[in-house]
Amino acid sequence: MPKRAWWARLWLAGVVLAPLLAACGGGGDALVVYSGRNENLVRPLLDRFEGETGIDLEVKYGDTSELLPTILEEGGNSPADVFFSQDAGALGELATRGDLRPLPAEVLEVVPERFRDPDGRWVGVTGRARVIAYNTDKVPVDRLPASVLEVTGPAWKDKVGYPPTNASFIAFVTSLRETVGEERTRAFLEGLKSNGAKRYDNNIQTLDAVAAGEVELGLVNHYYLYNEFKERPGAPVANFYPGQEPGGEGTLINVAGAGILATSGKVEQAERFVRFLLEQSSQEYFRDETTEYPLRQGVDAIPELPPLDGLRTIPIPLSQLGRDLEGTVRLLREVGLS
């Protein structure tokens, strides 16, 4: 009996201590990346980075809208070295607060000017267009709304889905405030709510709901469609790019991008990481696996997508998305959507 108790104790100690030791042993030397891109999309690429460079990564995956406040809460000694954001607005907010350090020119120049910070503190890695995803069984093409603003009409009562806490959606609301003004944006958001639009936690759930027929339209980014097809071949969903008619208002082209925290003590490795994201092969990875628009000049998107240069874009520089993030969040809260 005493012998058995001894073994049990040893076993328990092992079970308890092993993960703790593993966690402690892993810390310290690794480059810490806060990734607002989800693990399934970027993990294979980050694994390749570790293999190629020998730099260990420690990645905190989460929603961009959760990681940004985390960095702000952590303040001066945030463990994060790199913020890989799903949205230019979150990067802009950090840049405005002086929390990002400038990137080297040779990293920035790979990407067209409109997809990076004018002051060089963050750089876009991939582009994503705001679209209206629709259920092709339920919505004929000629019934699609010409503009996103029309989905608050009676024709779409209870038939629209959207992810109100998603950083890309919040960026879209910011872009609305900048283009059509505060009052019309508020009216639009209140319209969504009173029109029975359904709220989802993220783009994927929204698109799943469109595919399942739970809703008919979804306000999402373009590239989730192709992942949906991988998971559910033949799903009755398609993307509609609003505002593309001649003279149309265009749609928001946001970026997923990266910036290096001013507090990082591993600037060299961090720069290496950002450079890696923009390398030809990484950009091809994003093109094929996430079906976003590669931003490195010379790498084209997959043929199913309308070419980036041909898309009509709303006339707002991306750096403006981070100028008044608080204002957008306040508006969402006041309307009761956050």
Binding site: L12, V15, V16, A18, P19, L20, A23, C24, G26, G27, V32, V33, Y34, N38, E39, N40, L57, E58, V59, K60, Y61, G62, D63, T64, S65, E66, P69, L72, E73, E74, G75, N77, P79, G89, A90, E93, T165, I170, K198, Y200, D201, N202, I204, Q205, L207, A209, A212, G213, E214, E228, K230, E231, P233, L325, E326, V329, L332, R333, G336, S338
Partner: protein, 515 residues
Amino acid sequence: MRAAPAAHRRPPAALALAGAAVACAMALPLAYLLLRASGADDALGLVATDRARRLVTTTVALGAVATAAAVVLGAGIAWLVERTDLPARRALGLAAVLPLVVPSYVGALALKAAFGPAGLVAEVPGLLGFPGAAAALALSSFPYVLLLARAALAGADPALEEAARSLGDRGLALARRQLVPLLRPAVAAGGLLVFLYVLSDFGAVSILQVDTVTRGIFLEYRSLTADRAPAAVLGVVLVALTLGAIVAERAVRGRPAPARAVAGVAPPRPVRLGPWRWPAAAAVVAVVAAGIGVPVAVVVYWAAVGSSRGAAGSILASAATTSVGLSAAAALAAVAAAVPVAVLAVRHRSRFSRAVEAVSVSGYALPGLVIALSLVFFSARYLRPLYQTLALIVVAYVVRFLPEALGSVRSSLVQVDPAVEEAARSLGRRPLAVAATVTLPLVRRGLLAGGALVFLTAMKELPATLLLRPPGVDTLAVRVWTGAAEGLYAQAAPPALLLVAVSALVLWPLRTAAR
């Protein structure tokens, strides 16, 4: 319980200190949350919005409906199993506890996949939202009521019921005079557990789109801004709701049941169900099927047909190790923390020990998300070295689940006659030696049951883990959640199955300890 003079002895300084330390650690999250919420510019203004009112109304309604359903299921099955000639009642009684190992979010996902829009089985209109969430929550929590109700029925003196019957009480009259008073404390306690489960649930309500206070807090937390006051204020609202539920339970529980507790006596003659025997068994089977059969079947289906890249085995293995390690550490730490509090409460009763005990069970009033939020705030500012470590997750689990361990440890200690310890001491053993050689073997089962209960709930824990996990660390629960949140059900399936399997193994010592 005998009020032995030993019960009021002054505690040794080390014991008092240990108890006080535990109480202080438990009180920290609530204290810091209050501090943070009171720092809000307009805390009252944040509470008095239409939205906050709606969140509270929805939460209370969901809690009430799910609790009512869980009480009907739990008490009903307990009665069928303990008091009737239900076919296969032993097996059914065991199977009915199994839904406890299905986390609410897995149940909700399965419900949605099976009966939601374009569902695998059938589309039940209106299932998404409130009705679905109430069903998922009731199904994954009714075993709490079942376990407590069965214990109450099994422990009751059958002579009372026999006497009532011999005096001509039948049917409803028997139920009213015997069963209701007998079950009332158990149902009240079980109902409270279910209600608190609903209040702190994050997974099911998120999947089924019901805006409860907990979901509201989470959405506030990830709202892209550094302004955390609204989340903290909503956290305080949730604590207030929880305290309200605890007070309500006290009122419902009433005085202790008139029945004498006995052991080792044959149960009363089973009630003959007659033509209802098989329909009743079918109903129990249906509940068990809905509670664990459907979730497991859906998860297996995903694992088989989903095309999303499954996580590499190594990722799954490391998540499983982390889950088991964290839960085991939490179980050990919770039992270790519960011991001094229980000893103080049982052997050294005083105002001080009552206060220590009250503060230590305050984790009941603190939903996981609130504890995590408070620990994030606190550690990010004042406890840097602990911030984003596994240790902090263990702290959160212990704060949250200490009451479970304490209940178990306390009740097993109550059953140890202090006279036995006195005798050992009078024979010259030192107090610590007495504790190790006399008391410990007698309360071992209670410690084990408490530890198992903490382990089980820690394995399923989601919101606090999501907020507190360090970079690169996953638990099984987190893997299920992230996979499902991204619609990659095939990826969520293996960790979900593993989670259910490991939890089911741990249910075993719990089952034997419960009887």
